[in-house]
C-alpha cells in the first residue's frame, strides 16, 4: 500500500460522507467528491490494469481526460460500459468497476509472458509475426488477450437524451481565460454558453454553464457536439467559438517509465490539492520546466514526502530552488532519470548526474516533460499549428472563421524526449497502445517517415485517448530519429470524439424505430386477423399466411397454386402512385421512359422502363393515362420515393416544363385480385362498369364504384393471371378487403403474400429490378432492344445505350435457367464459362408448384443466343446442370391473362 489520504486538505472532498464502491471484486470506501481514480489511490490501489499488447502492469498516470492507463469497465447489473477513464468517473455509492484488460486476473496474468516475448510484439507485429502458417491460428488468442474492454452482451439500457442549443458565443473551457471571455461577452449582450469538463465553476451573470460536459468535436459553421456526464448530448450551433481548453502535460521516455507509481507531476499536484490524496510517502520529480517544480513544492507543502527534484536544466529560478530546499527536497540539476526500478510498482530510480549515476529509493515519481496546448478542438476546426521552440510545443497559429484560440502562454521547457542509455524497449511513449522508443526507431528504419504512417504502423496514438500524452513526443522522437529539424513533423490530427463516447449517446433518441420507423400497410390489422407472417420490405408486409402449422415455403406454394387454379387476394398498397399532370405531361414522360407515353390513349396502360444517364435500368413499372394531360405512374414500391425525387429534379433543373408531380402513394390502398375467377369475385360486388375483356381489356384503367366505394381499377398482372388492381382510399382498405374476401368465398379465394408473388412472377419471367438486374443491366439485356430502336427522340439514358460497351454482343442477358434434375438452383450460383471463369449468375430461383419443378432466372453472357445450351452452375463447391431457356416458364402465349 503506497497511496493514502492526507489528514487534512482536499478542496473537493467531503470527509463526512463515505462512499462504498467495488473494484475488481473488492470493496473499498472513498469520499464524496472523489473520482474513482482518487479513491483508488487513497486506498493504496496502484495497479489498475494491464497494458494492451505486452500486459505490463499499469497504474494511474493522470488526473483528468489525459488518463491513458486507468480504463475500466463500469458495470450496471448485466450491462456495462467499456473503456471509461477512472479519472473521469465521479464516485457513486455502489459503483462497480473492473479493469478492462487483465485476463485471466490482474495480479496473476498469464499473458504477462508476452512481456518476456516482447521482441515478437514490435511495431507491425500483426503483419509480421502471425502470418505463418495462418493468421487464424493465432486470432482467437490475440483477440482474447489484446482487448480494450468487453462489448456488452445486452442492448444498452441507458436512456440518452439529445438537446439542441443555439448561442451567440460558445466558450469551451472554464478556466481563467474562458470565464473572462464568457463574462465579457455576456456584458456585451450576447447569449453565451460555457462548457467545461469539470464541476464547481463560478456562476456568471447571463452565462449558461454546462459542467461535467465534454466538447467532442467542432464541425462546419459553428456546430459542436458536447456530452454531459455521458448521458445528454448537446447539439450546439454557435455563431462564435472561443477555445479556452488550456494545456496538457506530457511525459518523458526513460527505461521502465510505465511502472505503476510513475505519474504526471501535475496530476500528483491535483490529487494532493483537490482530493488530499498522496500517491506515496517518498517521491522523486523528474522535470524540464518550472510548473513541474510547482507541483513538487505544492505536494511537499501539503505534507507529502518529496525526496528529490531531478531537472534536465542547469538551473532554475532562485525562488523555486529556495522553496524546495526549505521542504528538505534534494535538488539535482543537469540531471535525468535514466531508469525506474521495481516489480509491479516503482521502488527506485537511477539518476544520471553530471558526475555519474546514482540510485535513489522512492515509491512514486512525478514526471513533467513540458506542456502542450490542448489544441485538439482547434485542429478539428481546421486550425493550423506552429512549432514553438521555447516550449517545444505546437501552438495554434493562423485564423479559423468564427473560432478563436484563447489558450495559455507557452510554458518554457528543455527539449528532452528520451533519456538515452536505457533499454529502449521499455521506454514507453504511448502507454495505452504499448508503443516504445524502440518501436518508433524500428518504424523509422523501415521508412515510415510521416507521423500518419508511424501512427498506423505502430498504433501510436490510436488508443481511446487518441494520444493526448503520446502524439507530440512520438512525432518529436521520429523527427530526432530521422534527423529532421525539430518541429517539422507535427502530431497527427485528432478526430472526434475528444473523449471516449458511447455510440448510444451519439445516436441518443434516434434508436430502433425512432431511427427507422416501420411503415405499416393501411390494412395491417386485416392481415394480422388473416394470420399473416410479416417481413420488413421497407414496409411491414405479409410474407405468407400459413395455416395448420405450415412453414412459409409450404404456405407460399399453396397460395401460388391457389392463384393459378382459383383466385387470390394480395395487398399491393406500397406500390408507387405518382400523378403527373399538365399540358406537357406526355412530352415530359417521353423524356423519362424508354417507351413513348405520348402515344398512349386515355384509359390505357403500358409497361415501361426508367434508366439513369448511364443506361442502367433504375426501375420498371406501368403507367396509366387517366386523361389527355394526366398520368398515373406505378413505380415499384422500393423506387417510389426516388422516382418522385427524380421527376422533381428533372423538372426543376433539366427540363422546366408545364407539369406538376404529386406523390399519392400513401393515399390509396391497393388490393390485387388475381386468378381465373378474379372477374367473378368483382362481379359479385356490383361494379359500376363492365368487366368483360371487350369493354375493360388487359392494360386499361377504369374509375367508378365497387361495393359502393369509389375505386380506380387497373387491369395489370404481375402473376400472369387475369388480374385487377383495385385502388381505394387508404381509410377504406380494411372494408374493401373484407368485402373481397366475402365475395371470393364461393371461389375459394385465399390471401397471398410476397413469397407466393415471387413464385408467380418467376414462373412468368417478370423481372424484379435490382434482383434480376444489376448496375450494368440495360434494356437490351432484358429484351427491350426493339422498343428503343423504334423511338426517335431522346430520353434518360438513351445516349449511353449507343456506346460501344452497350452494343457489345458479349453482354449478360436475362434468360431462364432450368435445372436438368428438376431441383432448385441456388440464387447467386455462377454459370461456368468455357474459360472456367464466371459467365453469369442465377438471379431468382423458386420451386414452381404448378410446373412441379424449379424455375429460375439468370443473367448469362450472350444468353439470348444460347437458348437450349446446357451449362454448369457452381455455388459453394456444389455443381448443377442447367439448360438455358426462355424467361417465361409458364403460359408462354399469355392466354391466361385474358381468361
Amino acid at each position: 500500500m503506497t497511496g493514502y489520504r492526507l489528514s487534512h486538505g482536499g478542496g473537493r472532498i467531503d470527509r463526512g460522507q463515505s462512499i462504498d464502491f467495488s473494484f475488481n471484486g473488492k470493496r473499498y470506501a472513498g469520499l464524496a467528491g472523489d473520482t474513482l481514480a482518487s479513491a483508488l489511490l487513497a486506498n493504496g490501489v496502484q495497479l489498475v490494469g494491464r497494458s494492451f499488447k505486452l500486459h505490463r502492469p499499469r497504474g494511474i498516470v493522470g488526473a483528468g481526460c489525459e488518463e491513458t492507463n486507468a480504463l475500466v469497465q463500469l458495470e450496471h447489473g448485466i450491462s456495462s460500459i467499456p473503456n471509461v477513464q477512472a479519472t473521469m468517473i465521479a464516485l457513486e455509492e455502489g459503483l462497480v468497476a473492473r479493469s478492462i484488460n487483465a485476463w485471466p486476473s490482474l495480479t496473476w496474468d498469464i499473458a504477462g509472458v508476452n512481456d518476456r516475448l516482447r521482441g515478437l510484439f514490435s511495431a507491425g507485429f500483426y503483419y509480421k509475426t502471425f502470418m505463418w502458417p495462418d493468421w487464424h491460428w493465432f486470432e482467437w488468442l490475440i483477440r482474447r488477450a489484446a482487448g480494450l474492454g468487453k462489448v456488452p452482451v445486452v442492448p444498452d439500457p441507458q436512456r440518452y437524451e439529445a438537446r439542441h442549443v443555439e448561442c451567440d458565443l460558445l466558450v469551451i473551457g472554464g478556466g481563467r481565460r474562458g470565464l473572462a471571455a464568457a463574462a465579457q461577452a455576456a456584458r456585451d449582450g450576447k447569449s453565451v454558453l460555457l462548457v467545461d469538463l469539470d464541476q464547481g465553476l463560478p456562476s456568471l451573470e447571463g452565462v449558461r454553464t454546462f459542467e461535467k460536459t465534454a466538447a467532442l468535436g467542432i464541425w462546419d459553421h459553428g456546430f459542436v457536439l458536447a456530452a454531459s456526464e455521458g448521458r445528454v448530448i448537446h447539439r450546439i450551433r454557435a455563431e462564435q467559438i472561443i477555445l479556452a481548453t488550456g494545456k496538457q502535460e506530457r511525459g518523458i521516455a526513460f527505461a521502465n517509465n510505465d511502472l505503476p507509481g510513475i505519474m504526471l507531476a501535475g496530476a500528483i499536484g491535483r490529487y494532493v490539492a483537490d482530493y488530499a490524496v498522496a500517491p506515496g510517502r517518498s517521491g522523486i520529480f523528474f522535470v524540464n520546466n518550472d510548473l513541474g517544480w510547482r507541483s513538487a513544492i505544492e505536494a511537499a507543502q501539503c505534507g507529502v514526502g518529496v525526496r528529490a527534484i531531478v531537472d534536465a536544466r542547469p538551473q532554475v529560478l532562485p525562488e523555486l530552488a529556495h522553496r524546495a530546499r526549505a521542504h528538505g527536497i534534494d535538488l539535482f540539476f543537469s540531471s535525468l532519470v535514466r531508469s525506474a526500478h521495481g516489480r509491479g510498482r516503482v521502488t527506485g530510480v537511477t539518476i544520471e548526474k553530471p558526475d555519474g549515476l546514482s540510485r535513489l529509493a522512492c515509491d512514486f515519481v512525478g514526471v513533467s516533460g513540458g506542456w502542450n496546448p490542448a489544441s485538439q478542438l482547434w485542429t478539428m476546426a481546421g486550425g493550423q499549428t506552429k512549432f514553438n521552440e521555447r516550449s517545444q510545443s505546437f501552438q495554434p497559429d493562423g485564423l479559423v472563421a468564427n473560432v478563436e484560440w484563447a489558450g495559455p502562454e507557452p510554458i518554457e521547457a528543455e527539449p528532452i524526449w528520451t533519456v538515452h542509455g536505457g533499454d529502449e524497449k521499455t521506454m514507453f511513449v504511448d502507454f495505452q497502445t504499448d508503443v516504445t522508443v524502440a518501436d518508433i526507431k524500428l518504424a523509422a528504419r523501415e521508412n515510415y517517415r510521416s507521423v500518419e504512417h508511424l501512427k498506423r504502423y505502430t498504433v501510436l496514438g490510436m488508443g481511446v485517448d487518441q494520444g493526448k500524452l503520446s502524439s507530440v513526443p512520438g512525432a518529436m522522437i521520429l523527427a530526432e530519429t530521422i534527423g529532421a529539424e525539430p518541429g517539422t513533423l507535427s502530431a497527427s490530427k485528432v478526430r472526434p470524439p475528444f473523449v471516449p463516447t458511447a455510440f448510444g449517446l451519439i445516436g441518443a433518441d434516434l434508436r430502433g424505430e425512432r431511427f427507422r420507423p416501420r411503415r405499416y400497410l393501411p390494412a395491417h390489422e386485416w392481415h394480422v386477423r388473416e394470420g399473416a407472417v410479416f417481413e420488413d420490405f421497407g414496409w411491414e408486409r405479409p410474407a405468407a399466411y400459413p395455416v395448420g402449422g405450415e412453414d412459409i415455403q409450404a404456405a407460399a406454394e399453396r397460395e401460388a397454386a391457389a392463384v393459378r387454379s382459383g383466385v387470390g387476394l394480395f395487398d399491393g398498397s406500397p406500390l408507387g402512385k405518382i400523378l403527373v399532370a399538365g399540358p406537357e405531361a406526355a412530352a415530359f414522360l417521353d423524356r423519362v421512359y424508354v417507351g413513348t407515353p405520348s402515344t398512349l390513349k386515355p384509359g390505357r396502360i403500358r409497361y415501361g422502363l426508367v434508366l439513369n444517364e448511364n443506361g442502367t435500368i433504375l426501375d420498371d413499372g406501368v403507367y396509366a393515362r387517366l386523361q389527355d394531360g394526366s398520368f398515373l405512374l406505378s413505380p415499384s414500391s422500393a423506387f417510389a420515393d426516388r422516382m418522385v425525387r427524380l421527376l422533381e429534379d428533372l423538372l426543376q433543373c433539366e427540363w422546366p416544363m408545364d407539369v406538376v408531380v404529386q406523390d399519392v402513394t400513401e393515399q390509396y390502398a391497393v388490393w390485387t385480385v388475381a386468378g381465373p375467377n378474379a372477374r367473378n369475385v368483382l362481379e359479385a360486388l356490383q361494379p359500376s362498369f363492365v368487366l368483360s375483356s371487350e369493354r375493360f381489356p388487359h392494360l386499361s384503367v377504369r374509375e367508378g364504384q365497387l361495393d359502393g366505394s369509389e375505386v380506380r381499377i387497373q387491369r395489370v398482372s404481375f402473376s400472369g393471371e387475369l388480374s385487377y388492381e383495385i385502388q381505394v382510399p387508404a381509410g377504406q382498405a380494411v372494408q374493401m378487403g373484407d368485402a373481397l374476401m366475402a365475395a371470393g368465398k364461393p371461389y375459394g379465394l385465399v390471401p397471398y403474400g410476397i413469397e407466393a408473388l415471387e413464385i408467380l412472377r418467376i414462373e412468368k419471367g417478370y423481372i424484379h429490378v435490382g434482383t434480376d438486374t444489376d448496375s450494368e443491366t440495360q434494356p437490351g439485356d432484358i429484351g427491350f432492344g426493339g422498343a428503343i430502336a423504334k423511338k426517335q427522340s431522346d430520353f434518360l439514358g438513351r445516349r449511353a445505350l449507343t456506346r460501344r460497351s452497350s452494343l457489345s454482343p458479349n453482354r449478360k442477358q436475362l434468360v431462364g435457367l432450368t435445372s436438368l434434375c428438376g431441383g432448385i438452383l441456388p440464387v447467386g450460383g455462377h454459370v461456368r464459362a468455357p474459360s472456367g471463369q464466371s459467365g453469369g449468375f442465377v438471379t431468382s430461383s423458386q420451386f414452381s408448384p404448378v410446373l412441379g419443378r424449379g424455375v429460375a432466372l439468370g443473367l448469362v453472357e450472350q444468353g439470348q443466343r444460347r437458348l437450349g445450351e446446357i451449362v454448369e452452375i457452381v455455388s459453394l463447391g456444389k455443381r448443377w446442370q442447367a439448360r438455358i431457356s426462355e424467361t417465361v416458364a409458364y403460359d408462354r402465349e399469355g392466354g391466361r391473362l385474358d381468361t
Binding site: W219, D220, F223, R237, C653, R799, A800, R803
Partner: protein, 87 residues
C-alpha cells in the same frame, strides 16, 4: 454540419438538404460524340476552392437551387435559384 440558406425557407441545418452534385452541367444533344458524353456523365471539376453545386431542400419545401461552397472551409459564398447563371 453546415447551415444552408434555402431560397424559400431561410437558414436551416444541412440535415434538411440533399446534395445534387456539380451545377451548370449542360446535357449534350443525342448526337454528341463519345467524348462530350463522357465529360457530361463522368468528369467533374473537383476544385480546391469555390465550387458551384446543386442542393435540394428535401425535408423542407422541396426546391432545387444552386450554391457556391468553398470546398476547403465549407463557407457558403452564394445561394441562387435554379436557372440563374453563376454569379
Amino acid at each position: 454540419m453546415m447551415r444552408i440558406a434555402c431560397p424559400n425557407c431561410g437558414l436551416r441545418d444541412e440535415r434538411e438538404y440533399a446534395y445534387g452534385g456539380e451545377a451548370h452541367l449542360d446535357r449534350p444533344e443525342l448526337d454528341c460524340d463519345d467524348q462530350a458524353w463522357e465529360e457530361y456523365l463522368f468528369l467533374r471539376a473537383n476544385p480546391k476552392g469555390e465550387h458551384a453545386e446543386r442542393w435540394v431542400h428535401v425535408h423542407g419545401c422541396g426546391v432545387w437551387f444552386n450554391l457556391i461552397r468553398h470546398t476547403e472551409t465549407h463557407e457558403v459564398v452564394a445561394v441562387y435559384v435554379m436557372g440563374v447563371a453563376r454569379p
